[in-house]
Symmetry: C2
Subunit: 365 residues, 2 copies
C-alpha cells in the first residue's frame, strides 16, 4: 500500500492513529498525502464542515455555542532521520512510541483527528485546524496562509495548540529574531596576505561579543522566560589561496515576550555596533496570557487532569500568531519538547492518552 492510500481510522485505537500519521512521511513542503488522509478521515462526519486550503485542512462544528475554540496542530515534521516508520518499545501505559513526529507533533494531531470525529456535540463550538509548513520559514507557514486567504476560518475566543508540553500547559512563547552580521574584508592572494584584510579574522570580534554575552531570564506574568543569543551559522572564504573578503555570522536571538520585535532588533544592533546587521527573520513572542478567563478555565480543567503546572514555552510556536489575531492561546500536548527534532524522538503513550482524555473532558463538560 503506498502512503497515499493510507486510511486513517479516527474512532479506532489512538496509538494506531498516531503511528499511521507518523508513518506517512510529511516533511515540510510534502504534506499533500497527510492532508488528503486527514480530509478523507473527517469528511464523512455530518457534524463537521471540512475546508481545505493548499495542504491545510479545517474542520468545524456550527452548533451555535456561546464560545468557539480553535484546536490546532501542524502536519509537517523536520526531515526524517531513519526513524520512520515508528517502533513501539514497552507495553501498556509504560510504552513509548519512537520515530519522527511522535513528539513534534503528530500526537497532538492524532488527538485532534480522534476528538473531531468523536465529539458530535462539544460544549463549545470547535474549529479543528491542521496546517502545513510550520517547521520552515515563517513566510511559508500554512497557518499564516489561512490568516491571509480565509481570516473568517480563524475566528475564536481561545486557541489550544497541540505542541509538545509533556502534557503540561505552556503559556506564551519567546520571540525569535535572525540577523546576518557581515564583516567586510579585502581579497588578496594568500601568498601575499598583507595586501588584503582578512574578513574571517575580523569575525573574531563578533564571536567574542557572542561568547561574552550573558543571556537573561525575564519574568513575564509569573513565568520565567530564558533568552538566548547564538550564532547558528558562519560562512566565509572563496578559495584555498584567497584572503576572504567577507564573513557572515547568522545570529539567532530568542527573546522574552515582554520585548517587542523592534526592541529585540535594537538590542542586537547595539550588541553588534560597528558591523552591518541585516534582519532576515523576525517573529514576536507571546505573553502567557494565563489570566485571560478562557485560558484560566482551560488550565484549571486540563491540569487537574494531567497534574501538570503552567510553565513558559521557550520555543517560538504559533501561539504567537494567535496572539497577533487577538486570540488567547496556550500550548498543550503530549511529548517532551526536548526530544523534538532529535534522532531519538519518542513519546510516552501514557501522555498521549492523558492529553486526549483531558481535552475530551474539557470539551464535554
Amino acid at each position: 500500500m503506498s502512503p497515499h492510500d493510507t486510511v486513517l481510522e479516527p474512532t479506532g485505537d489512538l496509538l494506531a492513529l498516531l503511528r499511521a500519521l507518523c508513518d506517512l512521511p510529511s516533511v515540510s513542503g510534502s504534506e499533500a498525502a497527510i492532508a488528503d488522509a486527514v480530509e478523507a478521515a473527517l469528511a464523512p462526519y455530518p457534524h463537521l464542515e471540512v475546508l481545505r486550503d493548499g495542504d491545510a485542512v479545517v474542520a468545524r462544528t456550527s452548533l451555535g455555542r456561546a464560545a468557539r475554540v480553535i484546536v490546532a496542530g501542524h502536519l509537517d515534521t523536520v526531515p526524517i532521520a531513519g526513524n520512520v516508520p515508528t517502533t513501539l518499545v514497552g507495553t501498556g501505559d509504560d510504552a513509548q512510541v519512537w520515530g519522527r513526529g511522535t513528539v513534534d507533533m503528530k500526537g497532538g494531531v492524532a488527538i485532534q483527528v480522534a476528538l473531531a470525529a468523536a465529539l458530535t456535540a462539544p460544549t463549545r463550538d470547535v474549529t479543528w485546524v491542521f496546517y502545513d509548513n510550520e517547521e520552515v520559514d515563517a513566510a511559508l507557514s500554512g497557518l499564516g496562509r489561512i490568516v491571509r486567504n480565509h481570516p473568517d476560518w480563524l475566528v475564536a475566543d481561545f486557541a489550544v495548540l497541540g505542541e509538545p508540553t509533556n502534557a503540561g500547559l505552556e503559556g506564551g512563547c519567546n520571540g525569535t529574531l535572525r540577523v546576518e552580521v557581515r564583516v567586510p574584508g579585502v581579497a588578496a592572494h594568500s601568498a601575499r596576505s598583507w595586501m588584503g584584510t582578512n574578513a574571517v579574522h575580523g569575525a573574531g570580534e563578533v564571536l567574542r561579543r557572542l561568547t561574552a554575552y550573558a543571556a537573561t531570564d525575564v519574568e513575564v506574568e509569573g513565568l520565567v522566560y530564558r533568552e538566548g543569543m547564538n550564532a547558528v551559522a558562519i560562512r566565509g572564504g572563496v578559495a584555498g589561496n584567497v584572503i576572504p573578503d567577507e564573513c557572515v555570522v547568522t545570529v539567532n536571538y530568542r527573546f522574552a515576550p515582554s520585548r517587542s520585535v523592534d526592541e529585540a532588533i535594537a538590542h542586537v544592533r547595539e550588541l553588534f555596533d560597528g558591523f552591518e546587521v541585516t534582519v532576515t527573520d523576525a517573529s514576536g513572542g507571546a505573553r502567557p496570557g494565563l489570566d485571560a478567563p478562557a485560558a484560566a478555565d482551560f488550565a484549571a480543567a486540563v491540569l487537574t487532569f494531567t497534574g501538570g503546572a503552567p510553565a513558559p514555552k521557550f520555543g517560538w510556536t504559533d501561539v504567537a500568531r494567535f496572539a497577533e489575531l487577538g486570540i488567547p492561546a496556550v500550548n498543550f500536548g503530549p511529548g517532551d519538547p526536548l526530544l523534538a527534532h532529535k534522532d531519538d524522538e519518542h513519546c510516552a503513550v501514557r501522555q498521549l492518552h492523558l492529553c486526549h482524555d483531558a481535552l475530551r473532558s474539557w470539551l464535554t463538560t
Copy 2:
C-alpha cells in the same frame, strides 16, 4: 574560426603570439585546444623533438651541449572574468595588454614558443616544457604527472620558470600548508540553547589565535621571505534554529623555505593546541639557490639585461617541484605578480620584450 582552429605563428610578432595564446581560453582542466596549438606550432621544426603527455607538451633539442636547461610554463589560467579576449591599451613600449593570462602566465609561454622555434642552435640544450593544471590542486599538476610518467623528460642542470616576476628574478618560494581546524559542539534547538554547546562560538578562540599571530620574516640565503598565517575559509551551522555542532576553520600557512613541511605542520599544530587539526594540502617551499653556479650565471646574464635584482618569491611555484628533483630553478617572467588572478590582470608589453630578449641573449652567448 573556433578556438580549436587557432594557429600560432611562433616566428611572427611576439605580442600577437601572446594575445593568441590568451584568446584561447584555457582554464585548468580545459587545456586541450591550447596544447594542440602549441604542439602544432612546434612540430614542424626539425631541431626539436616534440613529446606529448595528456595536455602537456615538451619540445627539446639534442645538440650534445655540455649543459641542459629546462624552460617551463603552465598553459592553464584561473577562470576568466569577462577579460577574454585581450585588449590593448596604449602603443609601442608603453602599451599594456589586458586580459586573463596576460600575467599568469601566457607571457612566459609566448616567449617559450617563440624561442623554441627561433633558437635552432642554443648554447645549452633546452627542454621547453608546457604543462596543464597548475592553478588547481597539486595532485592534478601536469608537471607532477610528467615527473611520474616520464622522469627522463625532466633531466636538466637548471630550470627557469616563466612565472611573472616583473622581469626581475625571484628565487625559491615559500611553502604552503592547508589545515582544517575543527571545533566540536553539541547540537540543540536554538530556543533551548543552554542544552547544547555552540561550536561557532568555540571557533572564536581559533580566530583569536590567528589574529594574535605575528607572522615572521625569514632570511634565507640573503633573501627575506615573508610568511603568513590566515583563515581562508570558515563554515559552521546546519539550520537557522539549531546550535551548530561543528565549526571548521581552514587555515593556510605560507612558510619560508628554510622550514620543512614537517616543521610547518608541527608549528601549526602547536598554534592550535587543543583543537583537532587535519592537514589537507602541503607543498614545501624552495630555497633560492642563487649561489648555484648555473643560477648565478643566469642571474648575471638576464639581470644585466632587465636591470632587476634578485628577490624572494612569496607565492608557491613549481620551482619547488624542480628543487625536489634536485634541479636549481628560478622564476623569471613578464608581468606584475600582484595582478595575477585579478580581474584587472594586465602586462606591460615592454616587459614581454625585455624577458624575451634577455632569455634569447643568455641562450645564444
